[in-house]
């Protein structure tokens, strides 16, 4: 029986890492633009009316702070996955990646809790629009991050344990999310 030759080893050209970096740069531009517009509208509103948040709306800081704190273990777990993958430790790599998935789901849940407690209608003013645009985009990125972690775990644990570049790109994505969420936390939840 004639066996087909294996596919050539992928060249170390870091396509996934560079692609992830470019995507992160694009998303940073998106969030930077939204933050800039948010701050401009906030400044105009404060100058005109003296306030920015709609009447009766208060930001629940506990879940917002918990979300910020959760980004630290996520970054640690992402680096843990990279460290374990480089040493061929499949068990620790898998545990780290699935813990990130768990925390990503917890982040989405915390954001839903904030939505439920703030009772901000989607239509009703600049704050409402910008609040949901920015935090909603963040939720989408969390969902994408959870999928990214799950796919990374499946690929790595499914036999492609040499595919360490993917784990590195995955860590880069979560570092980026941590940075953006820190900005979001300060702009949306702290400065209000």
């Amino acid at each position: 029986m004639h066996a087909l030759p294996a596919a050539p080893a992928p060249a170390p050209h870091r396509q996934i890492l560079v692609g992830t970096a470019v995507a992160c740069a694009a998303l940073a531009a998106l969030f930077g633009g939204m933050f800039a517009l948010y701050l401009r509208l906030r400044d105009q509103s404060v100058s005109a009316t003296g306030h920015w948040l709609p009447d009766g709306v208060s930001v629940p800081m506990v879940p917002a702070n918990v979300m910020l704190c959760a980004m630290l273990p996520i970054a640690v777990f992402a680096q843990w996955a990279v460290y374990s993958a480089k040493r061929g430790d499949r068990v620790h790599t898998g545990v780290a990646l699935w813990l990130i998935v768990l925390l990503a789901v917890a982040m989405i849940n915390a954001q839903a809790n904030i939505y439920a407690r703030m009772h901000v209608p989607a239509v009703g003013g600049s704050f409402n629009t910008m609040f949901y645009a920015i935090t909603g985009s963040m939720v989408v990125l969390f969902i994408a991050g959870a999928l990214f972690s799950a796919i990374t775990a499946f690929r790595y644990l499914g036999g492609r344990s040499n595919d360490r570049e993917l784990v590195t790109a995955h860590a880069l994505y979560w570092y980026f999310l941590s940075f953006v969420f820190a900005m979001l936390w300060f702009v949306i939840y702290v400065t209000k």
Binding site: P10, V18, V22, A28, G32, G33
Partner: protein, 377 residues
């Protein structure tokens, strides 16, 4: 030390820093704040990309590396073309549109996105299964074709049926017949040509079928957008609007295609006959041979009579069930019954203790003297 790409991004970073300082110093207010935040974002992005370029060394491979002619990026075969990134993008766009429009758009987009992701992943995996491109394509087909073909067939058939239904709902009812005739003729002609001895090439057949399906779906979408035509509901004899017809007689749309025969019925208390001479008589069940011109019916009863038309022209039986305060007269009737035919007439006597200002009776509108009195004790 610095690669070409990283030099470019480092320069862009430095320029952005200068621009940020100059702009923030010269422009104040809300515009200045927004511009400064935007420029700081540009600084962060350029610095980040410069770092990535430095880390990856622009993707360069050292020329002295052993086997570089086989392992470098330039030596790799190009990645195969794929439509699934486009499908995933359509799914993501649909998610956004569906979130603010209709739930069905959102749900369909979720399905499209998941399908695109699965297809994309399997294709990417299969392209690295071996060095043989044909073998890789075969692996992909074996894995996904058993799933793709039934789903595509179902979705395609559903799209054709749905499109055709939209066309028929918007087309003029008289044109519907000709639409069926023309499309049926086209299908038969096409099948004849395709199956003929001078076989058209498979590519031509596929192209014709594709164009036909796209045309049908295009017309279907256009029809769905323009909305269906106004379809008037067929009138029923129990409508309040039919009351004048019950009292004055004649034949209208409601009488078209009306049933002229009665199957076995329960709760029938009497058979009412309109005789040739115009006399209306009732034969009560259990009292054979006695012709009645008066029926006694309990209040609030629900019962039935069967009307037989033995006259020479179509007639209907009308029941007048009294007029009570603040209410119009309770009237109902059968549809027009053709000569020699019969119809079932369900009767409900209103539940009221008040006196009626009009008589209770069965009549045949347009036939003088054809009356059966209804006594409600």
């Amino acid at each position: 030390m610095f690669t070409t790409g990283s030099k470019m991004f480092l320069g862009a970073t430095a320029l952005s820093v200068v621009a940020t300082i100059v702009f923030s110093a010269s422009e104040g207010g809300a515009v200045g704040l927004m511009g400064t935040v935007g420029l700081i974002t540009a600084v962060v992005i350029f610095a980040f990309l410069a770092g990535i370029n430095l880390f990856t060394r622009d993707g360069n491979t050292p020329s002295m590396q052993q086997g570089v002619e086989h392992t470098s990026s330039a030596a790799q075969p190009p990645v195969g073309r794929s439509m699934w990134p486009l499908g995933a993008a359509v799914g993501i766009g649909g998610l956004v549109i569906g979130a603010i429009s209709k739930p069905v758009v959102f749900k369909v987009s979720v399905v499209v996105l998941l399908a695109a992701i699965v297809e994309w992943m399997v294709q990417a995996w299969s392209e690295r299964a071996s060095a043989d491109v044909k073998y890789n394509a075969n692996v992909r087909s074996r894995m996904l074709n058993s799933l793709e073909f039934p789903i595509l067939a179902t979705v395609g058939a559903g799209a054709v049926v749905y499109s055709f239904s939209r066309v028929m709902l918007s087309a003029n009812p008289n044109a519907g017949l000709w639409i069926f005739v023309v499309i049926g003729a086209l299908i038969v002609t096409g099948g004849f040509l395709f199956a003929g001895p001078r076989l058209t090439s498979r590519r031509t057949i596929a192209a014709i079928c594709t164009v036909g399906a796209v045309a049908l779906m295009g017309v279907g979408v256009a029809s769905a957008i323009s909305g269906q035509r106004t379809i008037h509901p067929h009138p029923v004899i129990d409508d309040a609007s039919q009351k004048p017809l019950c009292l004055e007689g004649g034949e209208e749309e409601v009488d078209e295609h009306a049933s002229q025969d009665v199957s076995l019925k329960s709760s029938v208390v009497a058979n009412i006959y309109l005789q040739e001479d115009g006399d209306l008589i009732a034969l009560i069940n259990g009292m054979p041979g006695i012709e009645y011109h008066e029926l006694t019916v309990p209040r609030s009863a629900h019962l039935g009579v069967i009307f037989h038309n033995d006259s020479g022209e179509a007639q209907r039986l009308t029941g007048r069930f009294g007029t009570f305060p603040d209410k119009p007269e309770a009237v109902s009737c059968t549809t027009a019954v053709h000569p020699g035919k019969s119809a079932y007439f369900g009767v409900s006597i209103p539940k009221s203790n008040a006196a009626s200002s009009t008589p209770f009776e069965f009549i045949v509108p347009g036939v003088d003297g054809a009356t059966i009195k209804i006594v409600v004790p």
